[in-house]
Structures are given as C-alpha cells and as structure tokens.
Symmetry: C2
Subunit: 574 residues, 2 copies
C-alpha cells in the first residue's frame, strides 16, 4: 500500500482537496464527470482546467440530464460514473432520474457541491438543514465529507460501495470549505481501487437442489431479468435454456431495464406475465437476475401459479422472497449462479426426454402482451375512447424497419412502450434500455450517456412528446459535444397514460369526452430542436419516417425526427 | 358547525374522497390547481370534469412549473395555492422550486398523488419507502392521508397550516386507494375555513422599549424586508420612516423576495449591506419583516455595526436573534408591529429635532451595491477577465425605459440581478419579485402564476439564458392558456456566476483563460420559443430591444424577446 501527500501548488490552482478528488476518480477509471455546476464548484473546475487530459467535465444545462447521462454510461460500462450537482437545489433536480439509476443498479456516484460547513449552520443561501435526507433512500451510502483529510477515503469508499454488488448510486456531499482548503491532503491508499471488489456465489446445497428441480421439470420456464445482461450471463443462460429445453421469458414489463435475452431466439416467448400460457402451464419457474416483481398496482390475486415450483436467483439476498416465498433461493452474481447450476446439472444426455420441445419463433405471436390483454389495467391498456396513440402500429413498423439491426435503442415513451418492446430488434444484451422509475425525460440524457460509452455505435432515443419536454435540455449537451444520437419523438400531443387511466376510471371523463390533464399538443418539436441546433424534421406518415431515418443514418452529430402520431395524424400508407 | 356526508354517485364519477377534497379546496377559495398529473390522479381529474366551473386544473408539462406557478400566485394573493404532483418522481421534480416558496413564506399546498398503500409496502412502480423524507424539511407540515374518512380534515389542516403565520408550504400525500375509495366521506367541519386564522402581536413591553429607542435615535435606519409587503404594511412603514426621518434600506440582496418599499421614495437608499454608509453611521438599526440575514458565505466578521442598537421585528420568533443577538425583539405580524409602534411613539412634534434630514433620491447613486463593491465576493462581482455580461448597462436602461411604470417584473437572471434590482421601477409593493432559493428556472412559472393572480396587469419575466433552459416548459402552459407574460431572456451564452466564481478563485482558469462549466451558448432562444408557439424576436442592440418592447406591449398572449448580451454582442448605440 502506497500513499503520498498532495500539497498546495504555489499559486491557487485547484486545491489539494480538489486534486485528491481527481486522483481518486482517475484511479477508478473515471474520465468524464457529468456536471451542472454553480459557484460552489470553483475549486473542482479549476483543478479540471489543469488535468483535462486525464478527466474532463461534460456540461449539462439541467441536473436531471447529468444524472441520466451518468446512468446511461454506467449501464453500458458497468463501471462507476460520476454526476456532480450543485447544492441542495441541484441535488433536488437530480433525484427523479437517480431513482432510475437506483432501480437499474447503476453505479452512479453523485458528488454534491455544498455551501461551506459554517454557512450550513447559518441557514445560508442554497443550504438545507438536512441535505442527506433528500437523497438517503435513493443511494446505498451517503456521506457529507467533514474534512479534506478524509475526502480521498470517503470518495473511494463511495466508489467502492457503488461498484460492490448490488451495485447502485452513492452520494458524497462536498462542502466548499473542504474543497477550498489549502492544507496538504494525504492521498488515498491504492488498496481501494476497483480490482478488489469481490463477487458472491450461491450456497452449494441451494445449487444442488435447484439443479435437481431444473433437471426434473418437464415444462420449465426461465424468466431472464436485467442482471443477466448486467452480469454478462446471457450466453450462459442461452446454454442453460437450450440444455433444459426451457421456455424463456423476459422480466415483467414494469421491471424491464435492458435486453437480457435475444427476442429472436426460438426459445424466447415474450415478457413474463402471470397469465402467460407458458407460465400457467409451467411446472417450474426459474426467475434469474430479475425482481419478483415490479408491480404497477397491488395484485388482486397471487402472481405466481400455485402448481409450479419456484427458484429465484438474485445477487441481492433482500430481493429473494421479498413478496413471494420461493422454493429455492440462489443468492449470487448471476453468472456465478448459472455457471454453478450448469456444472451441477446432469449432462445433456441425462436431460429428461419429455422436456418441452423447441418452440418456433411464431409462438410469440400467441403470447398475450400488455398491449393486447383485455384485462389489462395499466396505462398501456386499450384507449378506445381516449384519443391517444391511434395508428401507432405502422409507425412502429417503419421505425423498426429503419433502424439498423445493431442499433441501441433508449426508450422513454410511456404508452408506446409495450408495442415498441415487442417490435424492436433485441438481438444482444443491452440493445434496448428502459427506465423502470416512471420519471419522464430520462431517455434524452441516458441516450447521450450510452452513446459516449459506446463510441461509434449507433444509438437512437425513442421518446414520447411528454418525455421530450421533460428531458429537453439534453439537446444542448448533444449539440455542444456533437453526440451522435438520433432522437425520435412520437408526438401524439397528449399524456395518454393519463387518458388511459381516466378511461379505466370510467366516470365523467368518459361520459362527457372531456379528458383533463391529457392535452399537451401544440409544440412543433422539430422546430424547437432546430432552435437548439439539432438538425430536425417533422414527418406524418410511415413512408416519411422511413425516408427520414435513411437520411439521418451515419450523421456525425445529433439529429431529431418528430413523428406525428396523434388522432389527427393516423394516416397509413395508401 | 355543520357537516354533511359525501356519498358515491350512482355511476363511478370522481369518488367521495375526490369530491370531498374539492369541497375543502373550494371552501378555501381555491379555484385552480396547478397540476402535472399521472395515472394515479384519475379520481381527482374525473371529479374536476364535473366541477370545472368551481375549480379547474392548470396543466403544466413539468412539476417544477406547477410549483413555481403556485408560488407566484400565492405571493400575489396571499392565499393558499395548490400544486398537484404525481408520485415520488413528480414530487422530486417539484422540490427545488418549493424551496423558493418556502423562503418566500408562500402558502403552497402540495398535493401528491401516491400509489396505493398496499403497493407502497411492496416497493411497487413509482413508490419510495419514505416519501415524506423527500419533502419534510421544505414544508411546515407533511402528512400522508391514511383513510378517506380523514381526508377532508387532513387537507383542511394543511391549508390552515399553510395560511397560519409564518405562512408556508405544506404537503399532503394522497394514496390512490384512498382517492379511489367508494365509501361515503363526512365533509370537513366548516370551522376550519380561513377566516379564523389569527395573527400575533408583539409584547407590550417590547413595543414600549422599541418605541423609546426609535424616538431617541438620531440616525435611525429601517431595513424593510419582504414581510412588509406580504403583510400589507408598506404604507405604515412609510409613515414611520417619515415620522422618524429615518433612512430606509431594502433587505439584503440574497434575501430579497419582493419589493417592500418604493425605491423612488426620497428616504430609500438601496439594499442593506454591512458596509453601507447609512449602516456604518447609524445609531439604531430596525430590521422589520426581514431575515437577519441570508448569507452567500459565512461572514469573516460580524455583519452588524457594533455601535448601533438593533431592533428586529418578525412574525416568526425563530427568526429573531437567529444569528445575531438583538436589543429588542418584536414578534408579530408586521402591520401589527408597526401599528403598535406608531401608537407608542411620542407625537410627531416630539421627534428629536436632530433627526436625520430627508435625503434626496440622489443619495442612492453613492450607495455601494453588489455590482460595484470592489471587495465583493459573490457571483455578482466584477468579471473583468471572464467574458460575462459585457455591456449590460445600456440593455438594462432600454429595458427599464421600455417597461410600463406599473409592470410587475419577475426576475430570474442570476448575475444580472443586482443591476436590474437597482434600475427597475419599484414604486409599489410586490412590483419586483425574486426567488432567494438559487433554483434556476423559477421565474418562468412564477411569472405565469403572478399573471393569473393579477388579470389584466402587465407582467414581465426577465430571465438569464441558463434560467430559461431550466424553466423552459412554462412556455407550453403560457401558450395553452394564453397567459400574457412577456419573457425577456438576457442571453449571454454563459453560466456567468460560475465564471465569476472561477475568476475569484484566481487559479488555472484565470491563468489560462479556460472557463470550464461556463459556456452554454448556442441555442437560438427566440426560435425555440416560436417552436412552442410563443411569438418571439431576437434583438442585439438597446434600440432593437426598445422597439421589441413597444411591439409586444398589450399583446393578448405570451411573447418572448431574446436579447443577446454576450461578449460578442456588447454593441451600444452609436
């Protein structure tokens, strides 16, 4: 273990604390900090001036964008990403999208510039009495640094905590007096760098039992959650599924965060739902790397078919058996779980001959989805009377057709999500990314973070017009840094989730045809984007959309296509 | 005391709980609810369909706008205003501007639609374990309603708590199961309606002592805070100032919320600052209806001149003596304090003959302000090396010249604020409104709320380009409801407060001329506004600004003028 001391430079330039902060971040491989600064962040910014070759800021014009960018980049890299927010008001603005990072287990470190310790005790400008209270339930660990001397170890601990499973956000408050301090700072010991983060494996007896249940099952169903992708376990799960002859489902729609299993694989049969035929028919359900469940409303009856045995594998012991008892719990890193299971299974020859035969891809078309279930009670349900996404199918088809097969798609389009999830190509892990937080506007910033983490790889954000307005400031960052994301905005001029809810409520709105809180029409989104400097077009037909998608392919910077999908714009091809 | 029972209607239409909620709100004079709804708010919205003649929603496309609008309207009316936010993510988005409402003592009730109680206990979609933790320190009272039966009294108590001095925000969590409940609900007792909110008066002995000190003082200075305006005490303060022959200062700049004293009055001599000549020279300082103080940084030395006696009048006992001991504390409603003092003073003939003579208005020009103090350490300080608001003075002059004398101005332009505060006409209480929260973007929504509360009265929002981006979604609401606010955006293409902080830091940024985190140039703001449907122009010179202001006067809906004030746009008149 080595350590060194960071001393003040001869002229005021950064400070020892700011340079020690940079040292820790750089030591953890952080090369960019997503930032919306204020005056309290001067010492940090000044230190960056001198070391921008090692670490630079990515400026955003709203804190929500900084957090969403960090989340997007964290999902792709799996490594800690950093958002630097300004005082209590900037932190408040970052909280909504931090819930997305939290639910996606994104290792996002929020650095929060705070007013000096003395001013905090005097109710000064941009202070709150309890800054930690605002963020505590959204992070794994939250600490306000109290002296420059502990700053390196505090930040290193936050990074380590973010990177340890279950990975997730952390928060460090950085008072201005600490960051401005000119006293020498001892550097953090090298022992805290990331290589040392350990992984957990499931208990041997649990693996033995689970392997026996899997081998004995005649109609096993595997439910693949986001952690399968996050832990690089997709290929292992494919091996297991083929080995068992099992049907594979995706995580339930409200919990879906990222593609974990190729939807084109012949064993894949759509998202998990308690009324899915494969679920009703199963004698074993193996939930792997997903939550059980992310519910939109409390279920009227038990979500689990009572006949089937259940196995739940999750890296977080707290998730196993959280809402429903399971027969076997496997607590461990998803790849370790699957490796151990494969090793414990009988050889392929010993798999029961009566295992479910391989299904064809066509099976998928018979699977009920949120978009078609007649009993659906979520905002994705039928909106016959409410004028929402009328005629969306041809637009979705043109969209799918116009995207490259390998394009990464970031989705933030509330009521269009089920149709898009069912149709978009998902051939590899993380090809489609989603927030399960319900915080509108996440997608614009997240797409930028994804693109920065995947240079040269096409990234498209598909947004609703409501989400576009929430995340609009990302356009500035996209233009400023020439980040090549194509924003596709499905503009139906409405909060159709609200309209759907009123429709389900079946009261005065439906009786009178008045839908308060739903009409957000008016903005010419392409024109707004052009004002930010984003080349943009507005289209009205699937053919125009196809042409627009061809035109923007391989553009060096951001582009935007506004697609009118509202009730007055449901034109289909002649 | 009467009460009645609200029963379910024959067909599902609102619910008894939603109608009981509307009854309480309407009983308190609430006619509009600023709202950014989601699916959880269906019962409320459906009830509004049937009763929109009594109460309607004002839709916003981001929760921050709903909160800022409620704050703006609350400042003008002095009565409770309501923002209805959606689940944890919507609440998070509203928090930053709620700090503005809190600091301004705005009686804003935040209604927060939450997922059903059962789903909260299951970590369901858009739930957090501790919703109250996110908001607790920003409100006077926070309660999640646990049954429909107590909903009316819970909401009535929140309204009463908001309306009681010191007025301020409250929060009510409304779980969906409570709002959807079809059980009959007993209406709230009429006793909780607003007429009964009492006011406090200062202790008689304190009044006697304060009156004696004021009468004996030879160089008294009165510091008039926002509560002078909020409590309708401006005329009384004028009487007192003229009676005493006292100099009047405004609240310190960081605490300034609203015009409380006419800057054109001959006794007015600028904002309070510890180095103000009148303060240094005073033998008595009377702080009335202001905080002592709202500090930008902890003071190096005591802010109070040691020679002077001090009196502090505030409606909140907690504010008196909070940071500095005072000789006399007067705890009471500001008008009651001033009425009592005037009554306790010797008759005018008995005022000492050596009282300070009336100063002329010209005195103001000799008063140091934040914009000119050479020792200034706030972001409003000199930015000689950082290319910020170069050549702002002629623009400010054209702006002042182009506004009607009675126009209400909502300011949200960080570094331009001191110059604007010094120059803008402030002839009546509340003519200039400001947030002291530091949360950018407050001004767009606040201006809309102010205008709705002052129909027919001209309202202008003066914004920085940074603030414009933060509060951009207000343009949608302005267009949708044709709210006649003129937005004037001073576009210097930079976060100049950050630049000023780096300049003061005096390190690598200043040495190298690189200013990270400051360049937000690029957006063509007038074009963006036009995309939202706001008629907009971009101007570059004071003459063009004057012409643009003439052109937009008396326009029926919103308009926007973008003024280029950056380093490349410092052209002055030839």
């Amino acid at each position: 273990m080595t350590s060194s001391v960071i001393r003040p430079t001869s002229r005021n330039s950064g400070t020892p604390a700011a340079h020690a902060l940079l040292d820790v971040l750089i030591g953890w491989g952080v090369r960019q900090v997503f930032c919306c600064p204020g005056s309290t962040e001067a010492a940090f910014l000044d230190a960056v001036v001198e070391r921008s070759a090692e670490l630079d800021i990515v400026l955003t014009t709203h804190e929500s964008i900084a957090v969403a960018m960090a989340d997007g980049a964290a999902r792709i890299t799996g490594r800690p990403q950093v958002a630097y927010l300004h005082t209590n008001v900037g932190m408040a603005n970052g909280v909504a999208h931090l819930t997305a990072a939290q639910l996606a287990n994104s290792p996002v470190l929020v650095l929060n510039g705070l007013k000096s310790t003395a001013l905090q005790g005097r109710d000064g400008f941009t202070t709150v009495p309890y800054p930690r209270d605002m963020i505590r339930q959204h992070v794994k660990w939250a600490r306000q640094v109290t002296s420059a001397g502990t700053l390196p170890s505090d930040v290193a601990r936050a990074l380590r905590t973010s990177a340890a499973e279950p990975t997730g956000p952390t928060w460090i408050g950085l008072p201005q007096d600490v960051m401005d301090s000119t006293a020498p700072v001892e550097a953090a010991p090298t022992a805290v760098v990331p290589a040392a983060v350990p992984q957990n494996r499931p208990a041997v007896e649990a693996v033995t039992t689970a392997a026996r249940l899997l081998a004995e099952a005649t109609r096993p169903v595997l439910v693949a959650g986001g952690d399968v992708a996050r832990h690089g376990a997709t290929e292992t799960l494919v091996t297991l599924a083929e080995h068992l002859g099992a049907t594979v489902l995706g995580e339930d729609r409200r919990g879906f965060q990222r593609t974990a299993f190729a939807t084109s694989h012949p064993r894949f049969a759509g998202p998990y739902a308690s009324n899915h035929p494969a679920v009703r028919d199963a004698d074993l359900l193996f939930f792997v790397g997903c939550r059980m469940f992310t519910e939109f409303e409390a279920p009227a009856e038990n979500e689990l078919p009572t006949r089937a045995s259940t196995i739940h594998a999750h890296v977080d012991a707290g998730e196993v058996g959280r809402l429903y008892p399971v027969d076997v719990g496997l607590v461990g890193h998803t790849r370790a779980v699957l490796d151990d299971l494969l090793a414990a299974l009988p050889t392929p020859a010993q798999v029961p001959a009566n295992a479910t035969p391989l299904r064809t891809n066509a099976t998928r078309s018979t699977v009920p989805t949120d978009a078609t279930r007649s009993t659906d009670s979520t905002p994705s349900g039928p909106v016959a009377a409410f004028p929402g996404h009328v005629g969306l199918a041809p637009i979705v088809a043109a969209l799918v057709d116009g995207l490259g097969d390998d394009t990464t798609v970031v989705l933030d389009a509330t009521t269009a999500t089920p149709a898009l999830l069912a149709a978009l190509p998902q051939r590899r892990p993380d090809q489609v990314l989603l927030s399960s937080s319900g915080s509108l506007g996440w997608g614009t910033g997240a797409a930028l973070g994804v693109r920065l983490a995947q240079p040269g790889h096409p990234v498209v954000a598909v947004l609703g017009d409501g989400s576009f307005q929430f995340g609009i400031q990302a356009l500035w960052t996209a233009v400023h840094y020439r980040i090549a994301v194509t924003f596709i905005v499905l503009n139906n001029g409405s909060y159709s989730a609200v309209g759907s809810a009123l429709h389900r409520f079946d009261g005065a709105a439906r009786r009178t045809g008045r839908w308060p809180g739903t009409d957000i029409g008016g903005p010419r989104i392409a024109e707004i984007a052009a004002g930010f400097g984003v080349p943009a077009t507005r289209v009205e037909t699937p053919a125009e959309l196809s042409a627009a998608l061809r035109a923007v392919r391989d553009t060096a910077g951001p582009t935007l296509v506004e697609v009118l999908t509202g009730p007055n714009h449901d034109r289909t091809e002649p």
